[in-house]
Protein backbone atom coordinates (compact mmCIF):
# COMPACT_ATOMS: atom_id res chain seq x y z
CA UNK A 1 0.00 0.00 0.00
CA UNK A 2 2.95 2.30 0.64
CA UNK A 3 3.70 2.64 -3.05
CA UNK A 4 0.62 4.77 -3.47
CA UNK A 5 1.85 7.37 -1.02
CA UNK A 6 4.86 8.70 -2.88
CA UNK A 7 3.37 12.15 -2.84
CA UNK A 8 3.61 12.39 0.95
CA UNK A 9 6.07 15.05 2.07
CA UNK A 10 9.28 13.77 3.64
CA UNK A 11 8.84 15.34 7.07
CA UNK A 12 5.46 13.77 7.64
CA UNK A 13 6.78 10.29 6.94
CA UNK A 14 8.57 10.18 10.30
CA UNK A 15 6.50 7.90 12.53
CA UNK A 16 5.19 9.67 15.57
CA UNK A 17 4.61 12.91 13.75
CA UNK A 18 1.40 11.71 12.19
CA UNK A 19 -0.74 13.49 14.74
CA UNK A 20 1.27 16.70 14.63
CA UNK A 21 -0.08 20.10 13.79
CA UNK A 22 0.22 20.10 9.96
CA UNK A 23 -1.68 16.86 9.75
CA UNK A 24 -4.31 18.13 12.14
CA UNK A 25 -4.68 21.22 10.00
CA UNK A 26 -4.97 19.10 6.92
CA UNK A 27 -7.63 16.97 8.60
CA UNK A 28 -9.75 19.95 9.43
CA UNK A 29 -10.28 20.81 5.80
CA UNK A 30 -11.99 17.54 4.73
CA UNK A 31 -14.37 17.88 7.67
CA UNK A 32 -15.47 21.23 6.34
CA UNK A 33 -15.65 19.81 2.85
CA UNK A 34 -17.86 16.97 4.01
CA UNK A 35 -20.16 19.42 5.78
CA UNK A 36 -20.57 21.27 2.50
CA UNK A 37 -21.29 18.02 0.65
CA UNK A 38 -23.87 16.98 3.24
CA UNK A 39 -25.37 20.45 3.24
CA UNK A 40 -25.82 20.39 -0.52
CA UNK A 41 -27.23 16.88 -0.51
CA UNK A 42 -29.71 17.62 2.26
CA UNK A 43 -30.69 20.81 0.46
CA UNK A 44 -31.41 18.74 -2.66
CA UNK A 45 -33.55 16.38 -0.55
CA UNK A 46 -35.42 19.08 1.33
CA UNK A 47 -36.12 21.55 -1.45
CA UNK A 48 -38.97 19.61 -3.12
CA UNK A 49 -40.40 18.83 0.32
CA UNK A 50 -40.24 22.47 1.30
CA UNK A 51 -42.01 23.39 -1.91
CA UNK A 52 -44.84 20.99 -1.12
CA UNK A 53 -45.20 22.41 2.39
CA UNK A 54 -44.97 25.93 1.02
CA UNK A 55 -47.78 25.28 -1.46
CA UNK A 56 -49.98 23.61 1.11
CA UNK A 57 -49.99 26.83 3.11
CA UNK A 58 -50.90 29.09 0.22
CA UNK A 59 -54.22 30.02 -1.29
CA UNK A 60 -54.84 28.83 -4.84
CA UNK A 61 -54.86 32.44 -6.01
CA UNK A 62 -51.34 32.89 -4.71
CA UNK A 63 -50.13 29.55 -6.13
CA UNK A 64 -51.35 30.35 -9.61
CA UNK A 65 -50.76 34.09 -9.39
CA UNK A 66 -47.02 34.44 -9.03
CA UNK A 67 -44.12 32.36 -7.78
CA UNK A 68 -43.46 33.17 -4.13
CA UNK A 69 -40.74 31.51 -2.10
CA UNK A 70 -42.80 31.52 1.07
CA UNK A 71 -46.53 31.99 1.71
CA UNK A 72 -47.29 35.72 1.77
CA UNK A 73 -50.84 35.04 2.73
CA UNK A 74 -50.51 32.19 5.22
CA UNK A 75 -53.59 30.00 5.29
CA UNK A 76 -54.59 26.70 6.83
CA UNK A 77 -57.75 26.48 4.73
CA UNK A 78 -56.31 23.62 2.64
CA UNK A 79 -55.80 21.49 5.74
CA UNK A 80 -59.25 22.45 7.00
CA UNK A 81 -60.76 21.24 3.74
CA UNK A 82 -59.14 17.84 4.15
CA UNK A 83 -59.93 17.42 7.82
CA UNK A 84 -63.60 18.39 7.45
CA UNK A 85 -64.54 16.85 4.08
CA UNK A 86 -65.44 13.16 4.52
CA UNK A 87 -64.39 12.27 0.98
CA UNK A 88 -60.87 13.39 1.93
CA UNK A 89 -60.41 12.31 5.52
CA UNK A 90 -62.12 8.96 5.02
CA UNK A 91 -59.18 8.16 2.73
CA UNK A 92 -56.82 8.54 5.68
CA UNK A 93 -59.06 6.46 7.90
CA UNK A 94 -59.32 3.71 5.29
CA UNK A 95 -55.57 3.69 4.82
CA UNK A 96 -54.95 3.54 8.55
CA UNK A 97 -57.44 0.69 8.99
CA UNK A 98 -55.98 -1.60 6.39
CA UNK A 99 -52.40 -0.72 7.32
CA UNK A 100 -53.08 -1.57 10.98
CA UNK A 101 -54.78 -4.82 10.01
CA UNK A 102 -51.86 -5.66 7.79
CA UNK A 103 -49.30 -5.03 10.55
CA UNK A 104 -51.28 -7.21 12.98
CA UNK A 105 -51.59 -10.11 10.52
CA UNK A 106 -48.00 -9.80 9.38
CA UNK A 107 -46.52 -9.91 12.88
CA UNK A 108 -48.80 -12.73 14.03
CA UNK A 109 -47.73 -15.09 11.28
CA UNK A 110 -44.17 -13.87 10.84
CA UNK A 111 -43.02 -14.21 14.48
CA UNK A 112 -43.31 -18.01 14.80
CA UNK A 113 -41.99 -18.55 11.28
CA UNK A 114 -38.95 -16.36 11.89
CA UNK A 115 -38.30 -18.28 15.11
CA UNK A 116 -38.42 -21.57 13.21
CA UNK A 117 -36.03 -20.29 10.55
CA UNK A 118 -33.59 -18.89 13.09
CA UNK A 119 -33.49 -21.96 15.35
CA UNK A 120 -34.16 -25.11 13.36
CA UNK A 121 -33.26 -27.00 10.25
CA UNK A 122 -36.22 -28.66 8.63
CA UNK A 123 -37.12 -30.16 5.33
CA UNK A 124 -37.11 -27.54 2.61
CA UNK A 125 -36.24 -24.64 4.89
CA UNK A 126 -33.80 -23.01 2.47
CA UNK A 127 -36.18 -23.28 -0.49
CA UNK A 128 -38.99 -21.87 1.59
CA UNK A 129 -36.87 -18.94 2.73
CA UNK A 130 -35.92 -18.20 -0.87
CA UNK A 131 -39.51 -18.51 -2.05
CA UNK A 132 -40.55 -15.93 0.56
CA UNK A 133 -37.93 -13.57 -0.80
CA UNK A 134 -39.24 -13.89 -4.35
CA UNK A 135 -42.60 -12.65 -3.09
CA UNK A 136 -41.03 -9.55 -1.60
CA UNK A 137 -39.50 -8.93 -5.02
CA UNK A 138 -42.63 -9.69 -7.03
CA UNK A 139 -43.86 -6.75 -9.10
CA UNK A 140 -47.28 -5.60 -7.87
CA UNK A 141 -48.22 -5.00 -11.50
CA UNK A 142 -48.13 -8.77 -12.10
CA UNK A 143 -50.51 -9.36 -9.21
CA UNK A 144 -52.92 -6.50 -9.74
CA UNK A 145 -55.30 -8.27 -12.11
CA UNK A 146 -55.30 -11.73 -10.47
CA UNK A 147 -55.83 -10.11 -7.06
CA UNK A 148 -58.74 -8.16 -8.42
CA UNK A 149 -60.35 -11.36 -9.67
CA UNK A 150 -59.47 -13.42 -6.60
CA UNK A 151 -60.88 -10.96 -4.11
CA UNK A 152 -63.91 -10.26 -6.27
CA UNK A 153 -64.70 -13.95 -6.44
CA UNK A 154 -64.59 -14.33 -2.65
CA UNK A 155 -66.72 -11.20 -2.18
CA UNK A 156 -63.94 -9.24 -0.54
CA UNK A 157 -63.55 -6.55 -3.18
CA UNK A 158 -63.54 -3.02 -1.73
CA UNK A 159 -63.01 -4.16 1.87
CA UNK A 160 -60.13 -3.24 4.14
CA UNK A 161 -59.22 -6.85 4.78
CA UNK A 162 -58.67 -7.45 1.06
CA UNK A 163 -56.01 -4.76 0.87
CA UNK A 164 -54.49 -5.91 4.17
CA UNK A 165 -54.22 -9.49 2.87
CA UNK A 166 -52.88 -8.37 -0.50
CA UNK A 167 -50.13 -6.35 1.16
CA UNK A 168 -49.14 -9.44 3.13
CA UNK A 169 -47.69 -10.66 -0.17
CA UNK A 170 -44.61 -8.50 0.31
CA UNK A 171 -44.87 -7.58 4.01
CA UNK A 172 -44.87 -11.09 5.48
CA UNK A 173 -41.64 -12.10 3.70
CA UNK A 174 -40.07 -8.81 4.70
CA UNK A 175 -41.07 -9.27 8.35
CA UNK A 176 -39.83 -12.88 8.42
CA UNK A 177 -36.46 -11.81 7.04
CA UNK A 178 -36.09 -8.86 9.41
CA UNK A 179 -37.18 -10.82 12.49
CA UNK A 180 -34.95 -13.74 11.59
CA UNK A 181 -32.03 -11.32 11.43
CA UNK A 182 -32.77 -10.09 14.95
CA UNK A 183 -33.53 -13.52 16.39
CA UNK A 184 -30.27 -15.07 15.30
CA UNK A 185 -28.56 -12.54 17.54
CA UNK A 186 -30.18 -14.09 20.61
CA UNK A 187 -28.05 -16.99 21.95
CA UNK A 188 -29.72 -20.34 21.80
CA UNK A 189 -28.69 -21.12 25.38
CA UNK A 190 -31.47 -18.81 26.54
CA UNK A 191 -34.09 -21.06 24.93
CA UNK A 192 -32.52 -24.17 26.42
CA UNK A 193 -32.26 -22.70 29.91
CA UNK A 194 -35.90 -21.68 29.79
CA UNK A 195 -37.00 -25.17 28.79
CA UNK A 196 -34.95 -26.68 31.62
CA UNK A 197 -36.62 -24.24 34.00
CA UNK A 198 -39.93 -25.72 32.91
CA UNK A 199 -41.27 -23.05 30.60
CA UNK A 200 -43.65 -24.24 27.91
CA UNK A 201 -42.97 -22.97 24.40
CA UNK A 202 -45.75 -20.35 24.23
CA UNK A 203 -44.92 -19.04 27.70
CA UNK A 204 -41.22 -18.88 26.93
CA UNK A 205 -41.91 -17.12 23.64
CA UNK A 206 -44.09 -14.41 25.14
CA UNK A 207 -42.43 -13.94 28.53
CA UNK A 208 -38.75 -14.29 27.69
CA UNK A 209 -38.09 -14.29 23.98
CA UNK A 210 -40.30 -11.41 22.82
CA UNK A 211 -38.84 -8.87 25.27
CA UNK A 212 -35.36 -9.81 24.05
CA UNK A 213 -36.20 -9.01 20.44
CA UNK A 214 -38.54 -6.11 21.21
CA UNK A 215 -36.57 -3.71 18.99
CA UNK A 216 -36.74 -6.22 16.15
CA UNK A 217 -40.50 -6.48 16.49
CA UNK A 218 -40.69 -2.69 16.48
CA UNK A 219 -38.60 -2.44 13.33
CA UNK A 220 -40.59 -5.18 11.56
CA UNK A 221 -43.86 -3.47 12.52
CA UNK A 222 -42.55 -0.14 11.31
CA UNK A 223 -41.54 -1.51 7.94
CA UNK A 224 -44.76 -3.43 7.47
CA UNK A 225 -46.58 -0.20 8.25
CA UNK A 226 -44.44 1.80 5.89
CA UNK A 227 -44.58 -0.47 2.87
CA UNK A 228 -48.31 -0.89 3.24
CA UNK A 229 -48.70 2.86 3.61
CA UNK A 230 -46.64 3.82 0.55
CA UNK A 231 -48.12 1.20 -1.82
CA UNK A 232 -50.68 2.47 -4.30
CA UNK A 233 -51.17 0.07 -7.20
CA UNK A 234 -52.71 -2.84 -5.28
CA UNK A 235 -54.69 -0.75 -2.83
CA UNK A 236 -56.16 1.25 -5.69
CA UNK A 237 -57.00 -1.82 -7.74
CA UNK A 238 -58.75 -3.59 -4.87
CA UNK A 239 -60.96 -0.73 -3.72
CA UNK A 240 -63.57 1.55 -5.20
CA UNK A 241 -65.52 3.47 -2.56
CA UNK A 242 -65.75 1.98 0.91
CA UNK A 243 -62.10 1.26 1.44
CA UNK A 244 -60.53 3.77 -0.93
CA UNK A 245 -57.09 4.78 0.39
CA UNK A 246 -55.84 8.33 0.58
CA UNK A 247 -53.32 7.66 -2.17
CA UNK A 248 -56.10 6.83 -4.62
CA UNK A 249 -58.14 9.83 -3.51
CA UNK A 250 -55.20 11.99 -4.45
CA UNK A 251 -54.72 10.53 -7.93
CA UNK A 252 -58.36 10.94 -8.77
CA UNK A 253 -58.26 14.60 -7.83
CA UNK A 254 -55.47 15.06 -10.31
CA UNK A 255 -57.57 13.59 -13.08
CA UNK A 256 -60.32 16.17 -12.66
CA UNK A 257 -60.15 19.41 -14.56
CA UNK A 258 -59.01 22.39 -12.56
CA UNK A 259 -56.75 20.83 -9.97
CA UNK A 260 -56.94 22.21 -6.46
CA UNK A 261 -53.17 22.45 -5.98
CA UNK A 262 -53.29 23.73 -2.42
CA UNK A 263 -55.45 20.88 -1.18
CA UNK A 264 -53.41 18.34 -3.13
CA UNK A 265 -50.21 19.64 -1.53
CA UNK A 266 -51.79 19.58 1.93
CA UNK A 267 -52.93 16.00 1.39
CA UNK A 268 -49.39 15.11 0.38
CA UNK A 269 -47.93 16.72 3.49
CA UNK A 270 -50.38 14.80 5.68
CA UNK A 271 -49.31 11.46 4.16
CA UNK A 272 -45.70 12.20 5.10
CA UNK A 273 -46.61 12.85 8.75
CA UNK A 274 -46.86 9.22 10.01
CA UNK A 275 -43.40 8.38 8.68
CA UNK A 276 -41.91 11.60 9.97
CA UNK A 277 -43.35 11.05 13.45
CA UNK A 278 -41.63 7.74 14.13
CA UNK A 279 -38.53 8.17 12.02
CA UNK A 280 -36.41 9.30 14.97
CA UNK A 281 -36.98 6.02 16.81
CA UNK A 282 -36.00 3.80 13.90
CA UNK A 283 -33.19 5.95 12.50
CA UNK A 284 -30.51 3.36 13.26
CA UNK A 285 -32.53 0.53 11.73
CA UNK A 286 -33.61 2.11 8.47
CA UNK A 287 -30.82 0.50 6.46
CA UNK A 288 -31.41 -2.84 8.15
CA UNK A 289 -35.11 -2.77 7.41
CA UNK A 290 -34.73 -1.88 3.75
CA UNK A 291 -32.07 -4.56 3.30
CA UNK A 292 -34.35 -7.27 4.77
CA UNK A 293 -32.53 -7.40 8.10
CA UNK A 294 -29.19 -8.22 6.52
CA UNK A 295 -26.86 -5.33 7.30
Amino acid sequence: MTDTTTSAPGAASIPGRVTDAPVAARRKLPIKGSAVVMGLYLLFLMLPLYWLLNMSLKTNAEILGSLTLWPRDLTFANYETILTDPSWYSGYINSLIYVTMNVAITLTVALPAAYAFSRYHFMGDKHLFFWLLTNRMAPPAVFALPFFQLYSSVQLFDTHIAVALAHCLFNVPLAVWILEGFMRGVPKEIDETAYIDGYSFPRFFVKIFLPLIASGVGVAAFFAFMFSWVELLLSRTLTSVDAKPIAATMTRTQGASGIDWGVLAAAGVLTIVPGALVIWFVRNYIAKGFALGRV
Partner: protein
Protein backbone atom coordinates in the same frame (compact mmCIF):
# COMPACT_ATOMS: atom_id res chain seq x y z
CA UNK B 1 -25.43 -20.47 15.13
CA UNK B 2 -25.65 -24.23 14.76
CA UNK B 3 -29.25 -25.18 14.31
CA UNK B 4 -30.84 -28.44 15.29
CA UNK B 5 -32.88 -30.51 12.90
CA UNK B 6 -36.52 -30.41 13.90
CA UNK B 7 -39.28 -31.23 11.45
CA UNK B 8 -41.92 -29.93 13.86
CA UNK B 9 -40.70 -26.43 13.05
CA UNK B 10 -42.94 -26.79 10.02
CA UNK B 11 -45.92 -26.07 12.25
CA UNK B 12 -44.46 -22.69 13.10
CA UNK B 13 -44.03 -21.87 9.43
CA UNK B 14 -47.43 -23.16 8.42
CA UNK B 15 -49.38 -19.88 8.94
CA UNK B 16 -46.96 -17.99 6.71
CA UNK B 17 -47.14 -20.73 4.15
CA UNK B 18 -50.94 -20.70 4.03
CA UNK B 19 -51.18 -16.93 3.90
CA UNK B 20 -48.53 -16.37 1.25
CA UNK B 21 -49.83 -19.32 -0.76
CA UNK B 22 -53.25 -17.69 -0.76
CA UNK B 23 -51.90 -14.35 -1.94
CA UNK B 24 -49.15 -15.61 -4.22
CA UNK B 25 -49.79 -19.07 -5.62
CA UNK B 26 -53.50 -18.76 -6.42
CA UNK B 27 -53.03 -15.46 -8.31
CA UNK B 28 -49.99 -16.83 -10.10
CA UNK B 29 -51.94 -19.89 -11.18
CA UNK B 30 -54.61 -17.57 -12.57
CA UNK B 31 -51.94 -15.82 -14.57
CA UNK B 32 -50.54 -19.10 -15.87
CA UNK B 33 -54.07 -20.15 -16.76
CA UNK B 34 -54.72 -17.02 -18.80
CA UNK B 35 -51.37 -17.17 -20.50
CA UNK B 36 -52.21 -20.42 -22.31
CA UNK B 37 -55.83 -19.68 -23.18
CA UNK B 38 -57.79 -17.46 -25.47
CA UNK B 39 -61.20 -15.98 -24.87
CA UNK B 40 -63.95 -14.63 -27.10
CA UNK B 41 -65.81 -13.17 -24.15
CA UNK B 42 -68.68 -14.75 -22.20
CA UNK B 43 -66.13 -16.43 -19.96
CA UNK B 44 -65.45 -19.07 -22.60
CA UNK B 45 -61.83 -20.03 -22.85
CA UNK B 46 -59.91 -22.01 -25.44
CA UNK B 47 -56.54 -23.62 -25.25
CA UNK B 48 -54.04 -21.40 -26.99
CA UNK B 49 -50.79 -23.12 -26.09
CA UNK B 50 -47.74 -20.94 -26.30
CA UNK B 51 -49.32 -18.57 -28.78
CA UNK B 52 -49.33 -15.60 -26.43
CA UNK B 53 -45.72 -16.12 -25.47
CA UNK B 54 -44.74 -16.17 -29.13
CA UNK B 55 -46.80 -13.08 -29.77
CA UNK B 56 -45.22 -11.24 -26.85
CA UNK B 57 -41.70 -12.25 -27.85
CA UNK B 58 -42.34 -10.79 -31.28
CA UNK B 59 -44.12 -7.74 -29.95
CA UNK B 60 -42.18 -4.56 -30.61
CA UNK B 61 -44.11 -2.86 -27.88
CA UNK B 62 -42.79 -5.21 -25.21
CA UNK B 63 -39.21 -5.04 -26.41
CA UNK B 64 -39.39 -1.26 -26.50
CA UNK B 65 -40.69 -1.22 -22.92
CA UNK B 66 -37.98 -3.66 -21.87
CA UNK B 67 -35.18 -1.56 -23.38
CA UNK B 68 -36.59 1.58 -21.81
CA UNK B 69 -36.73 -0.26 -18.51
CA UNK B 70 -33.15 -1.49 -18.75
CA UNK B 71 -31.93 1.95 -19.78
CA UNK B 72 -33.73 3.50 -16.85
CA UNK B 73 -32.36 0.98 -14.34
CA UNK B 74 -28.82 1.34 -15.72
CA UNK B 75 -28.91 5.14 -15.55
CA UNK B 76 -30.25 5.36 -12.02
CA UNK B 77 -27.77 2.74 -10.79
CA UNK B 78 -24.89 4.61 -12.45
CA UNK B 79 -25.93 7.76 -10.60
CA UNK B 80 -27.22 6.47 -7.28
CA UNK B 81 -24.48 4.02 -6.35
CA UNK B 82 -21.47 6.39 -6.70
CA UNK B 83 -23.46 9.30 -5.28
CA UNK B 84 -24.65 7.18 -2.36
CA UNK B 85 -21.10 6.07 -1.55
CA UNK B 86 -19.88 9.64 -1.81
CA UNK B 87 -22.59 10.88 0.55
CA UNK B 88 -21.91 8.04 3.01
CA UNK B 89 -18.21 8.93 3.10
CA UNK B 90 -19.09 12.49 3.97
CA UNK B 91 -21.62 11.74 6.69
CA UNK B 92 -20.72 12.61 10.28
CA UNK B 93 -19.50 9.49 12.08
CA UNK B 94 -21.37 9.93 15.36
CA UNK B 95 -23.17 12.33 17.62
CA UNK B 96 -26.16 14.56 17.08
CA UNK B 97 -25.30 15.50 13.50
CA UNK B 98 -25.09 11.84 12.47
CA UNK B 99 -28.64 11.25 13.75
CA UNK B 100 -29.77 14.52 12.20
CA UNK B 101 -28.47 13.47 8.78
CA UNK B 102 -29.92 9.97 9.14
CA UNK B 103 -33.39 11.31 9.88
CA UNK B 104 -33.44 13.88 7.09
CA UNK B 105 -32.03 11.41 4.58
CA UNK B 106 -34.58 8.75 5.50
CA UNK B 107 -37.48 11.10 4.95
CA UNK B 108 -37.84 10.58 1.16
CA UNK B 109 -37.79 6.80 1.69
CA UNK B 110 -40.92 6.93 3.82
CA UNK B 111 -43.08 9.05 1.53
CA UNK B 112 -45.90 7.27 -0.30
CA UNK B 113 -44.83 6.68 -3.87
CA UNK B 114 -47.64 8.58 -5.48
CA UNK B 115 -46.86 11.55 -3.23
CA UNK B 116 -43.27 11.38 -4.47
CA UNK B 117 -44.76 11.67 -7.94
CA UNK B 118 -47.00 14.54 -6.87
CA UNK B 119 -44.10 16.39 -5.24
CA UNK B 120 -42.07 16.29 -8.44
CA UNK B 121 -45.07 16.98 -10.61
CA UNK B 122 -45.60 20.20 -8.69
CA UNK B 123 -41.89 20.98 -8.33
CA UNK B 124 -41.26 20.63 -12.06
CA UNK B 125 -44.19 22.63 -13.38
CA UNK B 126 -43.14 25.73 -15.24
CA UNK B 127 -45.94 27.86 -13.86
CA UNK B 128 -46.02 26.92 -10.18
CA UNK B 129 -42.95 24.75 -9.48
CA UNK B 130 -39.64 26.08 -8.24
CA UNK B 131 -37.56 23.79 -10.48
CA UNK B 132 -39.56 24.31 -13.65
CA UNK B 133 -39.83 28.05 -13.07
CA UNK B 134 -36.09 28.42 -12.45
CA UNK B 135 -35.15 26.34 -15.51
CA UNK B 136 -37.57 28.34 -17.60
CA UNK B 137 -36.22 31.61 -16.24
CA UNK B 138 -32.65 30.77 -17.22
CA UNK B 139 -33.81 29.94 -20.71
CA UNK B 140 -34.01 26.15 -20.77
CA UNK B 141 -36.98 24.81 -22.63
CA UNK B 142 -38.32 22.48 -19.96
CA UNK B 143 -41.65 20.72 -20.10
CA UNK B 144 -41.87 17.19 -18.78
CA UNK B 145 -45.23 16.43 -20.37
CA UNK B 146 -44.18 17.43 -23.88
CA UNK B 147 -40.45 17.00 -24.18
CA UNK B 148 -38.81 13.58 -24.29
CA UNK B 149 -35.57 14.64 -22.62
CA UNK B 150 -37.30 16.70 -19.96
CA UNK B 151 -39.56 13.76 -19.09
CA UNK B 152 -36.63 11.36 -18.75
CA UNK B 153 -34.57 13.86 -16.78
CA UNK B 154 -37.46 14.46 -14.39
CA UNK B 155 -38.12 10.76 -13.84
CA UNK B 156 -34.42 10.05 -13.25
CA UNK B 157 -33.82 13.00 -10.93
CA UNK B 158 -36.96 12.00 -9.02
CA UNK B 159 -35.66 8.47 -8.54
CA UNK B 160 -32.24 9.77 -7.49
CA UNK B 161 -33.97 12.06 -5.00
CA UNK B 162 -36.13 9.23 -3.75
CA UNK B 163 -33.63 6.39 -3.39
CA UNK B 164 -30.03 7.63 -3.22
CA UNK B 165 -30.40 7.87 0.55
CA UNK B 166 -31.01 4.13 0.71
CA UNK B 167 -27.67 3.43 -0.97
CA UNK B 168 -26.03 6.00 1.29
CA UNK B 169 -27.54 4.48 4.45
CA UNK B 170 -26.44 0.98 3.47
CA UNK B 171 -22.93 2.16 2.60
CA UNK B 172 -22.86 4.09 5.87
CA UNK B 173 -23.78 0.93 7.79
CA UNK B 174 -20.89 -0.83 6.03
CA UNK B 175 -18.48 1.97 6.93
CA UNK B 176 -19.54 1.94 10.56
CA UNK B 177 -18.48 -1.70 10.85
CA UNK B 178 -14.82 -0.92 10.03
CA UNK B 179 -12.72 -0.98 13.21
CA UNK B 180 -10.67 2.12 13.99
CA UNK B 181 -7.50 0.04 13.96
CA UNK B 182 -7.68 -0.21 10.17
CA UNK B 183 -7.58 3.56 9.79
CA UNK B 184 -4.75 3.85 12.29
CA UNK B 185 -2.74 1.28 10.37
CA UNK B 186 -3.39 3.19 7.16
CA UNK B 187 -2.26 6.40 8.80
CA UNK B 188 1.00 4.81 9.90
CA UNK B 189 1.48 3.58 6.33
CA UNK B 190 0.90 7.12 5.09
CA UNK B 191 -1.88 5.82 2.86
CA UNK B 192 -3.50 8.43 0.64
CA UNK B 193 -7.22 9.15 0.93
CA UNK B 194 -7.79 7.21 -2.27
CA UNK B 195 -5.79 4.22 -1.01
CA UNK B 196 -7.81 4.17 2.21
CA UNK B 197 -11.00 4.14 0.16
CA UNK B 198 -9.79 1.61 -2.39
CA UNK B 199 -8.16 -0.90 -0.03
CA UNK B 200 -10.04 -0.51 3.26
CA UNK B 201 -13.45 1.08 2.81
CA UNK B 202 -14.50 -0.36 -0.53
CA UNK B 203 -13.74 -4.04 0.30
CA UNK B 204 -15.52 -3.66 3.63
CA UNK B 205 -18.53 -2.13 1.91
CA UNK B 206 -18.62 -4.70 -0.90
CA UNK B 207 -21.30 -6.86 0.72
CA UNK B 208 -23.73 -4.08 1.56
CA UNK B 209 -23.10 -2.42 -1.78
CA UNK B 210 -24.04 -5.63 -3.54
CA UNK B 211 -27.32 -5.62 -1.60
CA UNK B 212 -27.81 -1.96 -2.46
CA UNK B 213 -27.26 -2.60 -6.17
CA UNK B 214 -29.63 -5.56 -6.21
CA UNK B 215 -32.34 -3.76 -4.22
CA UNK B 216 -32.15 -0.70 -6.43
CA UNK B 217 -32.14 -2.81 -9.56
CA UNK B 218 -35.17 -4.83 -8.46
CA UNK B 219 -37.18 -1.87 -7.28
CA UNK B 220 -36.36 0.26 -10.30
CA UNK B 221 -37.24 -2.70 -12.49
CA UNK B 222 -40.78 -2.73 -11.08
CA UNK B 223 -41.23 1.04 -10.83
CA UNK B 224 -44.79 2.05 -11.51
CA UNK B 225 -46.37 4.72 -9.36
CA UNK B 226 -43.87 7.56 -9.53
CA UNK B 227 -43.48 7.90 -13.32
CA UNK B 228 -47.16 7.12 -13.74
CA UNK B 229 -48.12 10.10 -11.61
CA UNK B 230 -45.60 12.49 -13.15
CA UNK B 231 -45.63 11.66 -16.85
CA UNK B 232 -48.34 9.01 -17.18
CA UNK B 233 -45.90 7.07 -19.38
CA UNK B 234 -45.58 9.89 -21.87
CA UNK B 235 -44.87 11.92 -23.86
CA UNK B 236 -46.04 9.27 -26.31
CA UNK B 237 -44.67 6.08 -24.84
CA UNK B 238 -41.28 7.45 -23.92
CA UNK B 239 -41.50 6.75 -20.18
CA UNK B 240 -43.75 3.69 -20.35
CA UNK B 241 -41.77 1.18 -18.30
CA UNK B 242 -42.57 -2.51 -17.97
CA UNK B 243 -45.02 -2.23 -15.08
CA UNK B 244 -46.85 0.71 -16.61
CA UNK B 245 -47.18 -1.14 -19.89
CA UNK B 246 -48.36 -4.27 -18.12
CA UNK B 247 -51.04 -2.47 -16.12
CA UNK B 248 -52.17 -0.67 -19.27
CA UNK B 249 -52.48 -4.01 -21.03
CA UNK B 250 -54.11 -5.97 -18.20
CA UNK B 251 -56.41 -3.46 -16.49
CA UNK B 252 -56.77 -0.86 -19.22
CA UNK B 253 -57.31 -2.95 -22.35
CA UNK B 254 -58.13 -6.20 -20.57
CA UNK B 255 -55.91 -8.17 -22.96
CA UNK B 256 -55.67 -11.07 -20.55
CA UNK B 257 -53.69 -13.55 -22.62
CA UNK B 258 -50.82 -11.31 -23.71
CA UNK B 259 -50.74 -9.59 -20.33
CA UNK B 260 -50.48 -12.94 -18.56
CA UNK B 261 -47.70 -14.14 -20.85
CA UNK B 262 -45.95 -10.83 -20.28
CA UNK B 263 -46.38 -11.23 -16.51
CA UNK B 264 -44.83 -14.66 -16.49
CA UNK B 265 -41.77 -13.60 -18.42
CA UNK B 266 -41.46 -10.53 -16.20
CA UNK B 267 -41.71 -12.72 -13.14
CA UNK B 268 -39.07 -15.15 -14.40
CA UNK B 269 -36.59 -12.30 -14.78
CA UNK B 270 -37.39 -11.19 -11.23
CA UNK B 271 -36.96 -14.76 -10.01
CA UNK B 272 -33.50 -14.94 -11.56
CA UNK B 273 -32.40 -11.70 -9.89
CA UNK B 274 -33.91 -12.82 -6.59
CA UNK B 275 -31.78 -15.92 -6.75
CA UNK B 276 -28.61 -13.85 -7.23
CA UNK B 277 -29.75 -11.68 -4.34
CA UNK B 278 -30.35 -14.69 -2.12
CA UNK B 279 -26.93 -16.14 -2.89
CA UNK B 280 -25.26 -12.86 -1.99
CA UNK B 281 -27.26 -12.61 1.23
CA UNK B 282 -26.54 -16.14 2.40
CA UNK B 283 -22.86 -15.76 1.58
CA UNK B 284 -22.79 -12.63 3.71
CA UNK B 285 -24.50 -14.46 6.56
CA UNK B 286 -21.94 -17.25 6.34
CA UNK B 287 -19.04 -14.83 6.38
CA UNK B 288 -20.45 -13.01 9.41
CA UNK B 289 -21.02 -16.27 11.20
CA UNK B 290 -17.47 -17.46 10.63
Amino acid sequence: MNKTVNQKAWFLVLPVLVLVAFSAIIPLMTVVNYSVQDSFGNNEFFWAGLEWFEEMLESERMWAALWRQLAFSAIILAIEIPLGIFVALNMPKSGFWASFCLVLMSLPLLIPWNVVGTIWQIFGRVDIGLLGYTLDAIGIDYNYTQNFYAAWATVIVMDVWHWTSLVALLAYAGLQSIPDAYYQAAKIDQASRWAVFRYIELPKMAGVLMIAILLRFMDSFMIYTEPFVVTGGGPGNSTTFLSIDLVKMALGQFDLGPAAAFSIMYFLVILLISWVFYTVMTNMDKRDGA
